[in-house]
Symmetry: C2
Subunit: 759 residues, 2 copies
C-alpha cells in the first residue's frame, strides 16, 4: 500500500523527554501541601482483626491522617473492573481496607504524613490485635473438600466448562493419545517504574483528581468510583508518563482508593509510591496454573481432540480470576483445528496476593501446555514438529473459535517457513551438536493472539481530532501510552488519514478522563487496532470536511481531491493544491467560520488474530543443568507495521520477558507463612540484557482487512510461545521434558536423575 | 418559558475554591527549576537604543538568562490579535523587545533569574546608552502637521470615514442645532488580579506551554505564534483561574512572548508577574478620545443628524486603535434613529503606553458625547429628556446600523418606564432640593450594546459535550471564565438542553487550547450568547443520540420522549422513564458501544443588542465641588437571565466601574516626561465599596429570538451610560455642564467660576 506516514520509523512522541529525564512520572509529581501515604498491611496470610488502636500513631508529630476499615465505603468492588452493568461482570469481593485480611499484605490501615519516613514510623505505632486463622497457599490443596475455607462461599470462585464435538469419541478414534500435567509459576511483570503509585486529591470543585500510572484511565475512573461510592463523573483520572505496564496496571491498584480516602480525610493531596519490594509482594502478577491435558491425534498428525482441566490460582480475591479461568483454556484449545474439545477451568482462591493481568493474559500458560502436547504427538508419530503445526493450524478464512471472528489474514505459514530457515532447523536437527556435557537441541512453538478484547468486552474506543488554523491537528484519545509507543502509532494513523506530516499531529503527554472520550485502555494488544480504528474514522470525518473547504478554494469537486504531506491537491493535477494551513485558516476565519473536527466512539469491526512462531536453539549442560539459549528466532505476523521500530521493540522486549518466564523468574511464596520469599530484584531473577541470546526477528505483514491500515497487534504476542519453544528445545537436547516453569538447572538435573534428594 | 435549570441562581462553579483561596491563579503556579523574569523598560518616552551592555548583569550570581532585541524574531505583530489572514487585520507594528522605544515602559531587555529580587537587581546592571528623541504625549498635538513624528508613516494610523444621508441638508432643515466638544480620560480596568502574568516553558516535546490569565486562550495562542514565529499548534495555552479582566486581558500582554524567549534561552520555565504599578503603567487601558459633535433635531425632538469627529489616542502602538476609531463613532451614532450622519474617527499615535480594550470598547466614550447632546437638545426644546429618548430610540424589528443585525427584542421602553418610576423622576424634577450649597439634580442616559463581535469578527465559538456512563456530562469549551461566571451560565445551558441537573455538568477549572476547540474568547459581551449557542447545539446533538438509546430501552419513538432533571421520560406518561445514568450505561456497555457526544463549532446566528438606561440623582456641593451620588438606578434589558445573581453581579460591578470612570479615575501622564504620575491605588482613585451610593437594578428580560434560551448579554453594558447620566444630573443640579472626564470637584468649581487660577 502506498502510505506516506505509516510504515516509517518516526521517533516516538515521548522519546526526548524520556531520554532527557524531563518526563514526569507519578513519583515526580509535587503539589502544595502534599502528604505521603504508607499502607499498613497484614503480616498474616489469614486473620481477623480484633482491634485497631491508632492512638500512639496519631500523636506522632507529622502524622496528618489515618484511615482504618471503618473509614471505607461498604461497597465491595473488583480491582480489575467490569462492575455490574457491563457484559462480563467480575465478582465484587474487595474492600479498600479490611479487618479480615486474606493474604500477607492485605491493606488494613493507612497513614498520611508530612514525609514517607514519618508515615513509615507511624505504621509501627498502630497497634492491631489479630486472631490468626489457618491458611492455604497451594492451589491444589485449596480445591480439596477439606481445605481451609478462605471465603464464605468456598474457595473455588468459578468453574468454566467448555465443550464442543464429542471428546470421548475422539479418544476412541485416536491413533495416538498423549497426556501430561503442566504447571506454571507466579511471575512478575517488572516494569521499570514499579507498578504502583498515585497522587489523589479532592478539590474544592467537589471532585477527586487522581494521577495514576494506569493502563486504563477511563476504567480506573469507573472502578474507583465504585470503590469510593461516588460517580465516575466525580473523578478526574490523569495518566502521566508510565514506565511500562505489561498488565500490571490494569484496573485499580490498592493505593489509588487508599490515597483518595486519606485525601478526603486530610483535605490535602496524598501521594503513595510503592517501593520495588511492595510492588513485588503486593501487586497483581501472572496466575500460576496447573494443566491436566490429554490430546488425541490421527496417525497422519491430524489433531482430533483435547481434554483439559486447568486449576487457576487467583489468590485472595477474584479480580481477573474468572476470566483467566476461561481464557487459560480457550487460547491453547482454539489455536489448531480441533473437532472435539472438553475443558474445565477451575479458579480457586488461596491466601496469597491476588493475581492479575500479565502480557498474554493466560495465553503463555495455555500455550505452555498445548504446544508441548504437540511435540509429544510429533515425536510419537515421527512427524517434524513444524510440519505438525502446518497441518493443524487454522487458515485465513476460518473462524477463530476463541473470538468468533474470521481469520482475516494468517501469516503463520510464512513465519514457520522463515523461522525454520533462519534457525537452520533441518540441518541442525539432522546434525545435532552433542559433546557429551553440552547438548544442543531445537524447539518450536506457535501461538495465536488477539488484537483486542472482543467479544469478552464491549471494546469501546474513541478519538477526537481537531484541525488548528495552521494545519496541525490535535488528536485526543483516552487510550494509554504506557511506554509501548501506541501514541506514536496512533499519531501516524491520524497523520496518514488527514494527509499531514507526523510532526503536525499533537497528542497530549498525559491522558485526562475529563478531556478524552471513553476508551477501555491498553490491554488485549488492542490500542493500535481498536483505537486506531477510531482515530482513522475521526480523522476521515475531519478530512472529508477539509476537502470540502479546499474544493471551494480550488474550484473542483471534493472527489477530485486528495491530501498528503500537508497539501490538498487535485489528483489529476497535483501541482494544483492548497496547503492544510491555507484551508484551515479559511475554515476558521473566512469560510463561514467553523473549526474542522472529527469524532468517533465505537467498537472496532473485528478482532483479527496475530500469529507467531518462536524457534529456540538451546545448549544444556548436563552436569550443571544450565540452559544456554544459543539462538532464538521470533517470527511474527503483526499485520501492517505502523512503525516498524516500535514493532521490533515490542518483540525484543517480549523475548526477554519470555525467556525470563521460561528460565529464571518465579515469585516464591512460603507455604508456612504466605510470605514472598524473594521480593527484590536480587532474588527475583529477571532476565537482563546480559542474559539475552543472539536473536532474529522476522515480521510478516499479513494485513487485516478490518483494520484501518492493515495493522493487527504485537503488544503481548512476543512472549506467548517462548517457554514452550524452550522446553521443546530442552527435550530435543537432553530427552527429558520439564513441565514445570521456570526450567531451572535444578529441575533439569532432577529430571536427569542427577540431583540427590538432599540438595 | 418552562426551564428547569436556566433562570436559577446556582452557585458559581468556581465559587468554593475562590472563597477558600485554593483556586490557582498564575501567580500561584510553581514548576521545577522555575525562573523569575523581570523586564527592563525604557525610561524615555521616545529614544533610540545606541548600545546594550549586559556584561555586568550576566555576572550577577543567580542570573540565568538575558534577552535583548537581538534575540527576538523580526516578525512584527499586534498584541491585540487579528493577524493577517483574518477579516479585520490590525496593523502589525510591534516587536517583543525594541531598540527604538516609543513610550516610557517600552520593553528593551528582560532577565530570568532564580528569584525576582536577583532579576530586579540584574536590570540595574544592564547598561544602555540612549539617544533621547523628542516626544509627543497629547493627542491633539500629535495630529498636527508639525508634530513630532513617532513613526515612519506618520502619527495618524487610521482615519475612518462614515456617512449616510446628507448631513448638510439635515443641518439646513434643523429647528435646533447643538454643538459641543467632549473629552475622555485614560482609565484603568483595575482587576483584582493585576492584569498581567505568565509562566512560559518550552518542553521536550518541542512545544511551548504558556499559562496565561487571558480572556482569549485561542487567540493568545495565535498572536503568540506570530510574535515568536512558530505555529499556533506549537503552543499550548492554559488559562488558569483569572481575577477579573474587563478587557485588560484581550490579546497578548508583553510578558507572554518575553517569558517565552527567556524560557527558550534558559531551557527552564519562566514566570513573570506584573506588580500593581507595572499593571497601571504598562498594560492596555481605555482610550482617551476627543469628540467634536454637532447634532440637529426638529422642533418635535426628532433627531435628524449628527456630524462628529473623534480623535482617538492609541498610544505608541496600533493594537486596537483602528477598531476603536470605528466603534467610538458607531456606538453613539447608531443608538437613535438618525437619518443623516457624518463621522470621522482619527486614531493617532502618541508616546504613551498603548491603549486597548476596556469594558464597552469605545461605547462609554461615544455615549458620553451623544447622550449629553441629547440633553442639550431636550433642554433647548423643553422636552423631557426621557421622552426625547423614547421618541428617537430604535424599535424591535428595526435593523441596528451598527451590526446590520435585526433588533430581535428591545426592552428599552420598559427600562425607561421602570427607571423613571423608581428614581422618582417626575416628582423630583418638579420639586428640586436645593439648600443653596448642596444642590440636587437628576440625569438619564441610555445605551445599546452588542452580544458579540459580529460582524467585525468572524465570531467562532465551539463546544464539545460528552456523556459519561453515569449520566454526568463533560463540557469542553475554549471560552474564558475570567470571573464573570460564564462557565456557570454555560453549564446551565448545557444542563437545560441535556435534561440533567446543574451539578451533573463538569467543566474543567482551566482552559487548555490543546483540548478545546477554537473560541475567540471573553470580549464583546459574547460568551453566553455566542458560546451559549455552540453549547446548546452540541448538547442538542448529544441529547438526540441519548433519546435514541432511551427510545430502544422504553420501546417508544424518540419523538415521544423528553429529558429533564436526569430523567428521560415519555412525555404523555412521565412515570415511564429511564435515567440518564441508565441510558448512558446502556450506550457505553450494551447498546453497540458508543459513548454519546455532541460537538459544535460555528458562528452564532445573530448579534442581538442589549439596552440600558441609567438614572442618577446627584447632590453637588457648590462650595467644595464635591459630587455625591444620592440615588442610582440601572435598568437593563439583558435578555433572559441564565443565572440572575450573575447578571445582577455584572451590573453591580459595572456601576462601580462606571461611577469611578465618571467621577474619580484617571491615569495621569506627565506631558514633559511621558511618565504615569499616579501608578498606584493610592493615587489612582478607584471607586471603592465605601464610595458606592444606594442603587437599584432593574432587569428586563426581552428575549432574543436567535439565542439558545433568549439570553443576550450583560458583561459590558453596565458601565456604558453611567458617565453621561452623571454629567446630565450634575447639569440638572447646578446648570453647568462638565464635558471632560472624570467630573472632579476641581472641574465643577472651575465650571462654576469658583476656582481661582492660582490653585
Amino acid at each position: 500500500m502506498d502510505f506516506s506516514v505509516i510504515g516509517k520509523n518516526y521517533h516516538r512522541q515521548d522519546g526526548l523527554p524520556k531520554a532527557k529525564g524531563t518526563a514526569k512520572y507519578v513519583a515526580d509529581l509535587k503539589f502544595d501541601n502534599m502528604l505521603y501515604g504508607k499502607i499498613l498491611r497484614s503480616p498474616h496470610a489469614h486473620a481477623k482483626v480484633l482491634s485497631i488502636d491508632i492512638t500512639r500513631a496519631k500523636e506522632l508529630p507529622g502524622v496528618i491522617g489515618i484511615v482504618t476499615p471503618e473509614d471505607c465505603p461498604e461497597t465491595k468492588f473488583n480491582m480489575a473492573g467490569f462492575p455490574p452493568g457491563e457484559d462480563f461482570p467480575l465478582p465484587q469481593d474487595q474492600l479498600i481496607l479490611t479487618d479480615h485480611p486474606l493474604y500477607v499484605g492485605d491493606p488494613i490501615c493507612a497513614v498520611a504524613a508530612v514525609s514517607e519516613r514519618v508515615a513509615e514510623e507511624a505504621l509501627q505505632l498502630i497497634d492491631i490485635e489479630y486472631e490468626v486463622l489457618p491458611h492455604v497457599i497451594d492451589r491444589h490443596e485449596a480445591i480439596k473438600d477439606d481445605a481451609v475455607q478462605i471465603k464464605e462461599d468456598g474457595n473455588v470462585i468459578s468453574r468454566f466448562p467448555l465443550a464442543w464435538g464429542d471428546v470421548d469419541q475422539a479418544f476412541a478414534e485416536a491413533d495416538v493419545i498423549v497426556e501430561n500435567r503442566y504447571t506454571t509459576q507466579k511471575a512478575y511483570q517488572c516494569s521499570i517504574e514499579p507498578s504502583s503509585g498515585v497522587v489523589a486529591m479532592w478539590n474544592d470543585m467537589k471532585r477527586l483528581v487522581v494521577y495514576s500510572p494506569t493502563q486504563m484511565p477511563h476504567l480506573v475512573r469507573r472502578i474507583l468510583a465504585q470503590a469510593l461510592d461516588v460517580r465516575p463523573g466525580d473523578i478526574e483520572v490523569i495518566k502521566p508518563h508510565v514506565g511500562g505496564g505489561f498488565g500490571s496496571r490494569l484496573g485499580v491498584v490498592a493505593c489509588e482508593p487508599i490515597a483518595a480516602l486519606l485525601s478526603k480525610q486530610t483535605g490535602k493531596p496524598v501521594k503513595i509510591i510503592y517501593t520495588r519490594e511492595e510492588s513485588l509482594e503486593n501487586t497483581e502478577q501472572r496466575h500460576p496454573i496447573t494443566y491436566e491435558i490429554k490430546t488425541a491425534a490421527k496417525a497422519d498428525g491430524t489433531l482430533i481432540g483435547h481434554d483439559m482441566k486447568a486449576i487457576v490460582d487467583t489468590g485472595a480475591y477474584a479480580t481477573h480470576g474468572p476470566s483467566i479461568g476461561i481464557l487459560a483454556g480457550l487460547w491453547g484449545l482454539t489455536m489448531f483445528k480441533t473437532p472435539h474439545v472438553r475443558y474445565e477451568g477451575i479458579t480457586t482462591s488461596t491466601n496469597t496476593m491476588y493475581n492479575g493481568a500479565y502480557r498474554g493474559y493466560g495465553n503463555p500458560q495455555s500455550v505452555w501446555a498445548v504446544e508441548q502436547q504437540m511435540d509429544l504427538i510429533a515425536e510419537k508419530l515421527n512427524i517434524d514438529p513444524i510440519d505438525l503445526r502446518r497441518k493443524n493450524m487454522l487458515q485465513e478464512g476460518d473462524v477463530w473459535p476463541w473470538s468468533g471472528y474470521p481469520i482475516e489474514s494468517c501469516g503463520l505459514p510464512e513465519c514457520l517457513d522463515k523461522g525454520e530457515e533462519i534457525i537452520g532447523w533441518k540441518e541442525k536437527r539432522a546434525n545435532k551438536q552433542n559433546d557429551g556435557v553440552k547438548k544442543r537441541g531445537l524447539g518450536v512453538a506457535t501461538m495465536m493472539h488477539v488484537s483486542g478484547a472482543k467479544p469478552i468486552l464491549h471494546e469501546l474506543s474513541s478519538a477526537f481530532v481537531k484541525f488548528n488554523e495552521d494545519g496541525t491537528a490535535n488528536l485526543l484519545i483516552g487510550s494509554a501510552e504506557i511506554g509501548q509507543g501506541c501514541n506514536t502509532a496512533l499519531m501516524q494513523i491520524c497523520a496518514e488519514e488527514l494527509g499531514i506530516n507526523y510532526e503536525d499531529v499533537i497528542v497530549p503527554e498525559n491522558v485526562n478522563t475529563d478531556y478524552t472520550m471513553f476508551d477501555i485502555g491498553s490491554h488485549a494488544s488492542r490500542q493500535v487496532y481498536s483505537t486506531g480504528h477510531a482515530v482513522k474514522k475521526a480523522s476521515a470525518e475531519a478530512k472529508e470536511k477539509l476537502l470540502q473547504v479546499a474544493s471551494a478554494m480550488l474550484g473542483v469537486h471534493p472527489n477530485e481531491l486528495d491530501a498528503k504531506e500537508g497539501k490538498i491537491f487535485v489528483k489529476k493535477d497535483p501541482e494544483k493544491f492548497v496547503t492544510h494551513a491555507d484551508a484551515n485558516l479559511e475554515a476558521h476565519f473566512r469560510h463561514d467560520g467553523k473549526q474542522i473536527w472529527g469524532a468517533c466512539s465505537e467498537n472496532p469491526p473485528g478482532n483479527p488474530p496475530v500469529y507467531a512462531a518462536h524457534f529456540a536453539e538451546v545448549e544444556v549442560d548436563v552436569e550443571t543443568g544450565e540452559i544456554k539459549v544459543v539462538n532464538f528466532v521470533a517470527a511474527h505476523d503483526t499485520g501492517v507495521m505502523i512503525n516498524p521500530n516500535l514493532v521490533y521493540g515490542q518483540i525484543q522486549g517480549a523475548i526477554q520477558h519470555g525467556l525470563g518466564y521460561s528460565l529464571t523468574e518465579e515469585v516464591q511464596i512460603c507455604q508456612e507463612t504466605g510470605r514472598v520469599l524473594n521480593p527484590d530484584l536480587v532474588n527475583y531473577k529477571v532476565f537482563t540484557m546480559e542474559d539475552m541470546p543472539d536473536f532474529d526477528i522476522v515480521v510478516v505483514e499479513a494485513a487485516a482487512k478490518s483494520s484501518s491500515h492493515g495493522q493487527k497487534s504485537v503488544g503481548e504476542s512476543g512472549l506467548v510461545p517462548t517457554a514452550a519453544a524452550i522446553s521443546n528445545a530442552v527435550y530435543d537436547a537432553i530427552g527429558v521434558r520439564i513441565t514445570d516453569l521456570p526450567i531451572t538447572p535444578e529441575k533439569v538435573l532432577k529430571a536427569l536423575g542427577k540431583l540427590t534428594p538432599t540438595v
